[in-house]
Amino acid sequence: MEGTAVKNKKLHISHQNMRKVHGLVFMLPWLIGFILFFIKPLVNTIKYSFHEVGVADNGGMTLKYVGLNNFTNLFRAEVSSQSQTFARVFTDENIDIFMNTPVIVIFSLFCAILVNVKFKGRGLARVIFFLPIVLGLKVVVDLIMITSGGDVADAAVSNQFDTSLLINFLLNYTFLPVNVTLFISDLASNIFMLISQTGVQTLIFLAGLQSINQSLYEVARIEGANSYEVFWKITLPLLSNISLFALIYTFVDMFLQSSISTEIYYFAFNKNNIGVGSALSVVYLFNVLIDLVLLLFITNKVVKLNHGDK
C-alpha cells in the first residue's frame, strides 16, 4: 500500500513537472522571438549608440568606440528632418503626449458612458462611436487629411472646425485666463486627431461598464443616491483597473505615432549615421520608460487620495 502511495506521489510530481515543461514549450516561440527580436536588437542598439558605425570593405560593419560622443552630438550638433533641435523635439512630444493622453482617456470614458445608456438608436450610436477603430489607422488619417495648402483652404475646405468663434466667446464671456482659453481652442481644433485615437479605449471602457454588477446600482438608487454620487462612488472606483489599462494603452499608442520614430529612420538610412540614430533610439526608449513610471506614480497618488477621502 505504502509503495503505491509513494509511486502515486512520484507520478504526481512528474506530471506537474511535465506540465511545466509543456507550458515552457508553449512559450517557446515567443521566447525565441523575445531573444532574437527584442533582447538582441536592444543590446545592439545600446552598443551602436556608443560606437561610430561604418561599412567595412567586405560588406560587414566596423565599430569604433566613441564614448558618449553620439549622445552629445545628438543634442548639440544634429537637427531633425524638420530642422529642430532634438531637445525641442523631445519636449514638444512629451508635452503633447501628457496633454493629450488624459483628454483621450476621459473622452473615451465619456463616450462609453453615453452609449451604455439605454435609448432609441443606441445600436446606430454604437456603430458610429466605435468607428474610430477603423478610421484611426494611421494610413487612413494620413490619406484623409488635406495636404494642399493655398489660399482657398480655409475652414470651408479644410478638415478643421473654425475655432475663432470659440476663442472669442471664451475670451469675451468667461473669465478664464488666456492660457486656458488657448488650450481649449487647441483641443477643439485638434478634435479629429483626438477622436480618431479613441476607438479601442471606448471599447475597453464599455466592456468594463457592462461588467459592473447591476445590483450595485439598484442598491444605490434605493439608498437615495443621485446619479452624480453613483458615478463617483460606484462607476469610477470599479473602473479604476480598466482606466489604468486604457491609460497605458493610450500612452504607448501616442508614443508609437510620435514623429521621433521617423527621425530614427531618417538618421539611420537617409543620413547613414547609425551611431547617432541608435543614440536617438536609446534616448527615446528611456523617455518612454521614464514617462511611464511617472504616469504610474501619478495615478498611484490619485488613487491613494481617493481612498483617503473615504
Partner: protein
C-alpha cells in the same frame, strides 16, 4: 369633495408635468450630446463625399462646398488606375492580413495559455517581460533590428550551413516569421488578452479532460481553445484591422510587397504630387486639375481602401462589445 378631487388631479398633473419636463430637458441634452459627438466622429467622412464626387476642375472653387455642380467619378477611376488596378493587390492585402492574424492568434493563444494557466518556472518574470515588450515601442529597436535582418544569423548556425548570412529584408516570409515569433503588430497586447481570458476560465473543464485521459496538448486544443472563442474573436478583429492598416512592418521589412497600406503611402507621398497631377491631366483630359484634385484622388483611394474594413466592421460590430466583455481584459 369635488374640489378636493380637482385639487388631487391638479397635483398629479403638476407632478407628471414636472416629470415630463425633466425627461424632455434631459432627453434633449442627451440626444444633442450623442448626435453632436457622433457627428464629430463621422464629420471627416461626410466631408469627403462632396470632394470625391466632385468634378475635378471645380475643386477649390469657393462656390462649391457641399453640393457639387457636376458629379463625376473621375477621382475614383484615377484612384483605381493608380493603386488598385484589377483589385488583386487588395485581395493580396486582405489575404496577407488574414494569414498574419491567424498566425498571431495561434502564437498568442498558446503563450497566453501558458502564462495564464501553467505554473512553470519564471512565469511571473515572463509576464513582466511581455508587458515590457508591449510598452517598448518597436521603432526604438528599428535600426539594429533592420541590420540584424539584413545579415540574419542565429549563433553562427545559419552561416555555417548556408555559407553566409541570409538577407531577410524584402523576403515574403519575413513578416510571417516576425508574427510567428510573437513580435508582430501589438502582439504582446494580444498575449496579454489571452492570458487574462485563460486565467478567468473555470478550471473544472480541463480537470475533467485530464481525468478522461487527455494529455496537455489534447486538453488545450479540445477543451481550452474551443472555449476561448470570445478572446479569439476580439484578437482576430483587432489583428486583422491593424495588420491591414500597418505601414511599419510592411514598410520597413518588406517594402516591395503588395501591401495596399504601404502602396498607398508611397503613391500619395508629398514627393509624388506633381507626377500624379500630370497623370490625371493626361489620362482624363482635365487640364484645370489643381492640387485639390490630388487630394480628391487620394481621398477616393482612402474610401476604396476602407471598404473591406467597413464591411467587416458592420458585420461584426454587434458582437464586438460582447466578445470584448467576455474576453476578460476587463477583469
Amino acid at each position: 369633495m369635488a374640489t378636493s378631487d380637482v385639487k388631487a388631479v391638479k397635483r398629479i398633473d403638476g407632478y407628471v408635468l414636472k416629470d415630463k419636463l425633466h425627461k424632455f430637458v434631459f432627453g434633449y441634452l442627451f440626444y444633442s450630446l450623442v448626435i453632436g459627438l457622433g457627428f464629430a466622429i463621422i464629420y471627416p467622412l461626410i466631408k469627403l463625399l462632396p470632394i470625391v464626387f466632385n468634378n475635378l476642375e471645380d475643386l477649390g472653387n469657393p462656390d462649391v462646398i457641399w453640393v457639387p455642380i457636376k458629379y463625376s467619378t473621375l477621382s475614383f477611376q484615377a484612384a483605381i488606375r493608380l493603386v488598385f488596378g484589377n483589385f488583386v493587390p487588395m485581395l493580396q492585402s486582405i489575404g496577407y492580413s488574414v494569414i498574419i492574424a491567424v498566425i498571431q492568434i495561434f502564437v498568442c493563444a498558446i503563450a497566453g495559455y501558458a502564462l495564464g494557466r501553467v505554473e512553470f518556472w519564471g512565469r511571473n518574470l515572463l509576464t513582466f517581460l511581455v508587458i515590457i515588450s508591449f510598452v517598448v515601442p518597436p521603432q526604438s529597436l528599428l535600426i539594429s533590428q533592420y541590420l540584424s535582418f539584413k545579415h540574419f544569423d542565429v549563433l553562427g548556425i545559419i552561416s555555417a550551413f548556408h555559407g553566409s548570412t541570409i538577407d531577410l529584408i524584402n523576403q515574403p516570409y519575413t513578416l510571417y516569421l516576425i508574427a510567428f515569433f510573437g513580435f508582430g503588430v501589438k502582439q504582446s497586447m494580444f498575449i496579454f488578452v489571452f492570458r487574462q481570458f485563460f486565467k478567468g476560465l473555470p478550471k473544472e473543464l480541463e480537470e475533467a479532460a485530464y481525468i478522461d485521459g487527455c494529455g496537455f496538448y489534447r486538453t488545450y486544443f479540445r477543451v481550452a481553445l474551443p472555449n476561448a472563442v470570445p478572446a479569439i474573436m476580439t484578437v482576430a478583429i483587432l489583428a486583422f484591422v491593424w495588420n491591414y492598416g500597418d505601414t511599419y512592418y510592411t514598410g520597413y521589412f518588406h517594402p516591395d510587397g503588395p501591401y495596399l497600406s504601404n502602396k498607398l503611402m508611397t503613391t500619395f507621398s508629398e514627393a509624388n504630387v506633381q507626377n500624379i497631377l500630370y497623370a490625371i491631366k493626361t489620362w482624363y483630359a482635365v487640364p484645370g486639375a489643381t492640387t485639390f484634385s490630388f487630394d480628391a484622388v487620394k481621398q477616393a483611394a482612402a474610401i476604396i481602401y476602407l471598404l473591406p474594413l467597413l464591411i467587416i466592421y458592420f458585420v461584426v460590430q454587434k458582437r464586438i462589445v460582447e466578445n470584448f466583455e467576455q474576453s476578460g481584459i476587463v477583469g
